[in-house]
Structure formats: structure tokens, C-alpha cells
């Protein structure tokens, strides 16, 4: 375990630096090709050039290497890394507040949303997958397979907008109109986030956010369960006289969950991207909405700073998942 841990931690550093450099390089090349983002911020109505120049200087966009196409601007990258190390992820271009300050305010909301989504997708996804795997080619299996394919074909933003219109507005308005229904119940069928119901009004967006991964996890679990049920050691467990529930619950499930855990690590990235869309649609004042607004307003400062932090979070999460993977699979631990 120790060696695996060290190796994994050491591998983390180049991947971290590489991903940060990739982000940096993309930003730089984007600017080199499209012109500077300060100009873009103002659209057709630019302030005088002197104002723009001052802003550029403020945001560190006056570096001459930004005029040379495909120049990697390494010096700039090193400078940025130094800023990241001190917790400086830049400022938004309109208000000039540090990105980290914005994120600090928005973080709890997004955490709640993510928690709802993760619980929903893992619990239901694994349950459906196991059920389908155990009943391979029966009705339940066909139902799960068909519905998950359908779910995978729905991009998050489509589910989001459709649910908002049909569940949030149509069904929700009807429920909220019923006197017999308690007030909190109607809040579960929300159109937008409401600060008075910090959990309930996040349920609908949470389900939307988790929908795609739910389908993916269910399918993955199903395949994995079917594969493991065929494994020789499952037969051994039966031959040892273990009851059927134990054969499935202990001998099959533990092995089947190994690929699922890997997927969940990878899925954190999906969730982040999904949060941008979902929070945008449902007006949830979280980190995703922040990015959403940043893209709408063409505020490169917000987008670059926030995404950089999200990538860091993603990489750390993946590291944790990899370690969890080693806990689950001794073959990895003792290679």
C-alpha cells in the first residue's frame, strides 16, 4: 500500500502541472487568436483605449507574448503558478473582486447540490444495475437497459429545461395551488432555487444533475455484476454453502463495485460541467452558475479562475478515488 500511495502521489504532481499548463496554454492561444478578453467584454461599445490599456495592465494581460501566436508564454505560466500557490486565482473583470471570494460564498450551495446528485446517482444507479444484472434478460433488465439508454441520450441541459417547464412550472404550479399540500412539498417541484428552502428546492436540480451518471452507473454496475456472477469464485462461494444473498451481496458486489468506483472519480468532472448547466437553468447561486454567467458575459477572468480551481478539485478527487480503488482491490495495492 505504501509504495502504491507514494507512486500515486508522485504521479499526481506532473499531471497537476500538466493540466494547469494546458489550461494556461489554451487561454493564451485563445487570446493570441481572438484578441484580448478585455476588449471582448465591452462588445460594440468600447471605452477609450487608455481605459482598456489600464484594465489590461490590471489583469496582467499586457504581456507582449500574448501578441505572438502559439507562444506558450512560459514566464507568464510560472508567474501564475506563484499566484495560485498564494491562493490568488485572479479577479472577475467587471467588479474586480477576487474569484476565491465569490467561490467562498457560493461553495455551500454547490456542495448541497452535488451531494444530492451523488447520493441519488450512486444509490439508485447501483441498485438498478444490480437488479438488472441479477435478472439478466428478464423484464426488469430490459426496462433498465432501455431507460438508461434513453437517459444517456438526453443532454443535461435538455433534461433540465424540460423538467423545469413540465415539472417545475406545470406540475409544480398545480401542487402549489392545492391548499391541502404543505408548503414545503411544493418547493420540491421548484422552478428556481429558493434560499428559504436550501435543501428542498435543490432536489429537482440535483436529480437533473445526477441523471446522466445514474444511467451510466446503472449500466456499468449491470455489466460488472453479470461478469462477476460468471466468475469462478462465485461458484466457489456457492460450493462453500453460502446463502444466495451472501453470494451476491458479499462475493459478487464487492468485486463489481471496483469499476464503478473508478467511474465515480471520473464522473466528478461530469458533475462539475453538469453543475454549470443545471445551476444556470435553475438559477442556483452556486459555483456552476458563476461560470455560467461568466460565459454569458464573456468574463474570461471568472471562467479561467473558477475552472482552474475546479480542475484542482477534480484532480484531488481523482487521487482520493484512486486510493479508494486500492483499498477495494488488493491486486492494485500489492503490485
Amino acid at each position: 500500500m505504501g509504495r502504491y500511495l507514494i507512486r500515486r502521489l508522485l504521479q499526481f504532481i506532473p499531471v497537476l502541472l500538466g493540466a494547469l499548463f494546458l489550461l494556461h496554454y489554451m487561454t493564451v492561444v485563445g487570446i493570441q487568436i481572438s484578441g484580448d478578453p478585455v476588449r471582448a467584454l465591452f462588445g460594440d461599445n468600447p471605452p477609450p483605449e487608455s481605459v482598456l490599456a489600464a484594465m489590461r495592465a490590471d489583469y496582467g494581460l499586457d504581456n507582449p507574448c500574448l501578441d505572438r501566436r502559439f507562444d506558450p508564454c512560459v514566464a507568464m505560466f510560472v508567474e501564475r503558478l506563484g499566484q495560485y500557490a498564494t491562493g490568488d486565482f485572479g479577479i472577475d473583470l467587471r467588479q474586480g473582486r477576487p474569484i476565491t471570494e465569490h467561490l467562498g460564498e457560493r461553495f455551500p450551495t454547490t456542495m448541497r447540490l452535488a451531494l444530492i446528485a451523488v447520493v441519488f446517482e450512486t444509490v439508485l444507479g447501483i441498485a438498478l444495475g444490480v437488479l438488472a444484472g441479477l435478472r439478466k434478460d428478464r423484464f426488469v433488465d430490459n426496462l433498465v437497459r432501455a431507460s438508461t439508454v434513453l437517459l444517456i441520450a438526453f443532454p443535461v441541459f435538455i433534461i433540465g429545461t424540460l423538467i423545469q417547464v413540465y415539472v417545475g412550472v406545470k406540475l409544480g404550479n398545480w401542487i402549489r395551488g392545492q391548499d391541502s399540500m404543505p408548503d414545503w412539498f411544493g418547493q420540491m417541484f421548484t422552478v428556481t432555487y429558493s434560499a428559504d428552502y436550501p435543501w428542498l428546492s435543490l432536489i429537482l436540480p440535483g436529480l437533473v444533475l445526477g441523471a446522466f451518471s445514474l444511467a451510466a452507473i446503472a449500466r456499468l454496475t449491470r455489466t460488472s455484476v453479470i461478469e462477476n456472477l460468471r466468475a469462478d469464485y462465485v461458484r466457489t462461494a456457492k460450493a462453500k454453502g453460502m446463502p444466495g444473498t451472501r453470494v451476491v451481496g458479499v462475493h459478487t458486489l464487492r468485486n463489481s463495485l471496483i469499476p464503478v468506483v473508478t467511474y465515480i472519480g471520473f464522473d466528478i468532472g461530469n458533475l462539475m460541467a453538469g453543475a454549470v448547466v443545471t445551476e444556470g437553468i435553475f438559477g442556483v447561486p452556486g459555483i456552476g452558475q458563476f461560470v455560467f454567467q461568466g460565459t454569458q458575459n464573456k468574463d474570461a477572468g471568472i471562467v479561467v479562475g473558477t475552472v482552474t480551481i475546479l480542475v484542482l478539485v477534480y484532480l484531488i478527487f481523482n487521487l482520493v478515488v484512486d486510493l479508494l480503488y486500492a483499498v477495494l482491490d488488493p491486486r492494485i495495492r500489492y503490485d
Binding site: 507512486r7 508522485l10 504521479q11 506532473p14
Partner: protein
């Protein structure tokens, strides 16, 4: 220990006799053991083949036996040029083959061919039998003119006992035994002098195994082939081989004629190996000299000092840890045996 590994091994004086189609001297193959976080670096070596010297005579079948991990398959791959030796020399028909470039290697392969173990994975499932058996003709375009290739392939199928009309079939339409025949036909295409048979029957059912063994014997007579027959099944090797080399942890521990190895083994490992082979005769139960070895084979990455077998040997003494016994004829061993205490012991026949 590493330096000792390449010490010349005494052999019966045969010299550069034209009778030898293959002469192997001090052949060594180490595989690097790598570990790395970003990029791999070598932290050790697996000594798969560690100083082998032997000859294959024309028209002869040399059996190479040993347990899994002893390096016998690597040895076969080295002969074929599928692996490059770490050091040592292989002479095929008098020509040094261990340092050839790719063009020369291609020419060399007209003289030596291989039949692989797994009849399922050794044939490309996306090619027809005609394409598989004819592939050597595509590569060596001058062997058979383009027009004659189909006929040549059909002749080959006929030779190995397959229906020539099945030339357009795909491998999955054949059984394991038939697939192995396709592999033999491919090996025969270039009319080689030597065929390396790497466990050619161990994936087959008993009743089919005999068919393929018979085919090998028939072809040897017909085409004057010399075989290197690598197998873990000592009964099959006894049946087909004229001479036998026994391998343990990358080294040949004993070599001799089939009769010398089976009837008069002098190396303790050979004796243990032979005595462990069950005999299909219930009357012999309890009447055979059975040597049950203790423990497992040591790792080839970290072999014991001196004699590699000493950790499991009942005869081991201090000298075995200090001095590696050379493979040579000894006072109590009329054929080369790599044991300080080599002595004949018949283990395969009933003892009273």
C-alpha cells in the same frame, strides 16, 4: 554469479560439423524488470535464459522440457529471432543469426519456422486459411510465383491432412486440432530445415493430441525436418524426441539421448521431474520411486547462488551453494549433467 553465468560449458566435441543445423553457445536472455513513476527504469533482470549451449543435428528431434518459467519458450523464441539475445551466439546452418538486421532475419526465416502453442490465438481470425497459410509467400514473394500460390497452399493443406477445398474458410470454422494443422502448414510453406515446436499439442485433447503428434512424425520423415520440440509433457517428449535437454531456471541441467535422460537420469531435478510424471498403469501404483519435491521454484529474477536447484535438492551440500556445477560428463554420468553429485537413478520403472 552474473559473471559465472557466461562461463563456457563443455560439450561433446562436435565442432563445426555440418551435421549440426543449429549450434547455440552461451545463449543468454535477460528481461529487464522495470519500475517507474513517470518513466520506467530498470531495477533488475529476469534471467529467462542464462547460458545455454547445445546443438541440433540434421533430421533429429531435440526435446526441451522443463516446468513453467524455466525459460524453454524464451529459448524457442530466441532461436526464431522473435527475441534478441542479451549475449551468446546462435548459428543456424553455420550462419550467425543473433545479430542479423531485419532483411537478413527475413531470409533466415526460410530455414527455421515455428509452431505455436495456442491454436486459437495463433491464427488471425480475420484471415482465411488460404491467406494464413499463404502469408509466407506474400512476404517472400520469390518463393512461389503469384499464380501458383493458391495451388501451393492447397498442396500444403493436403500434406497436413486438411481438405484443400477449405482454403476459403476462416479459422473459427475449424476445431483445435485442425487449427494446429493449419499452423503446421504455415510453418512448412517456406520448406524450412528446422521447425521450433513450442508446446504444439498441450492445448489439445488427448485423442486429438495423438493425431497431431503423428503428423509431426510423418512430416519429419517426408521433408527431412529437424525439430526443437519444447513441451512440459514428458511423455509426449519421450515419444517424439531423439535427444532431450532438461531445463531449470534458465539453464540446461541435463542433456542426452532420450534413453539416457529417461532410463538413466543423473541430475536430481530430472529424476524428480520424471518420478513426478504419473504413469497410466494402476498396477504400478506404489511400486514406483516417487520423489516429491519440497517448496516452489525460486524467482528467475533472483536465482540461488551456485547450483540453482540446491534449494529444493535432497543431495545439496555446501559446495552446491558455492560452485555452479558445469554441464559436463562425469564419473557417474555418461552424458552431460550439471550436478556435482550426478549419479544414475531409474525413477520411471517399477521398483520392488
Amino acid at each position: 554469479m552474473t559473471t559465472e553465468a557466461s562461463r563456457p560449458v563443455e560439450q561433446p566435441a562436435l565442432g563445426e560439423s555440418a551435421e549440426n543445423v543449429i549450434e547455440v553457445t552461451d545463449l543468454v536472455k535477460y528481461f529487464p524488470l522495470t519500475r517507474g513513476i513517470l518513466f520506467k527504469r530498470t531495477i533488475g533482470q529476469v534471467r529467462a535464459v542464462d547460458g545455454i549451449s547445445l546443438q541440433l543435428r540434421r533430421g533429429e528431434t531435440l526435446g526441451v522440457v522443463g516446468e513453467s518459467g524455466c525459460g524453454k519458450s524464451t529459448f524457442g523464441r530466441l532461436l526464431m529471432g522473435l527475441e534478441r539475445p542479451t549475449s551468446g551466439s546462435i548459428r543456424l546452418l553455420g550462419q550467425e543469426t543473433s545479430r542479423l538486421n531485419s532483411t537478413e532475419l527475413r531470409r533466415m526465416r526460410r530455414n527455421i519456422q515455428i509452431v505455436l502453442q495456442d491454436p486459437y490465438s495463433s491464427l488471425d481470425p480475420r484471415m482465411t486459411v488460404g491467406d494464413i497459410v499463404g502469408e509466407p509467400f506474400d512476404v517472400h514473394a520469390d518463393v512461389v510465383p503469384r499464380k501458383g500460390r493458391r495451388k501451393a497452399v492447397q498442396d500444403l493443406l493436403d500434406v497436413v491432412g486438411l481438405n484443400p477445398d477449405h482454403i476459403n474458410r476462416y479459422p473459427h470454422q475449424f476445431s483445435g486440432g485442425q487449427r494446429q494443422r493449419i499452423g503446421v502448414a504455415r510453418a512448412l510453406a517456406l520448406k524450412p530445415e528446422v521447425i521450433v515446436c513450442d508446446e504444439p499439442v498441450s492445448a489439445l485433447d488427448v485423442s486429438v493430441q495423438a493425431q497431431v503428434v503423428n503428423l509431426f512424425e510423418k512430416l519429419q520423415d517426408e521433408f527431412d525436418l529437424s525439430y526443437i520440440f519444447i513441451a512440459h509433457d514428458l511423455s509426449v517428449v519421450r515419444h517424439i524426441a531423439d535427444r532431450v535437454a532438461v531445463m531449470y531456471l534458465g539453464k540446461v541441467v541435463e542433456i542426452g539421448t532420450e534413453k539416457e535422460i529417461y532410463e538413466e537420469p543423473t541430475h536430481p531435478y530430472t529424476q524428480a521431474l520424471l518420478s513426478a510424471v504419473p504413469v497410466p498403469d494402476p498396477e504400478l501404483r506404489g511400486h514406483r520411486d516417487q520423489i516429491v519435491l519440497e517448496g516452489d521454484v525460486p524467482s528467475p529474477a533472483n536465482p540461488p547462488s551456485g547450483c540453482r536447484f540446491r534449494t529444493r535438492c535432497w543431495k545439496a551440500e555446501e559446495i552446491c551453494a558455492e560452485q555452479e556445477p558445469p554441464l559436463e560428463e562425469r564419473s557417474d554420468s555418461a552424458h552431460p549433467s550439471a550436478c556435482h553429485f550426478a549419479k544414475v537413478r531409474d525413477v520411471i520403472h517399477a521398483v520392488e
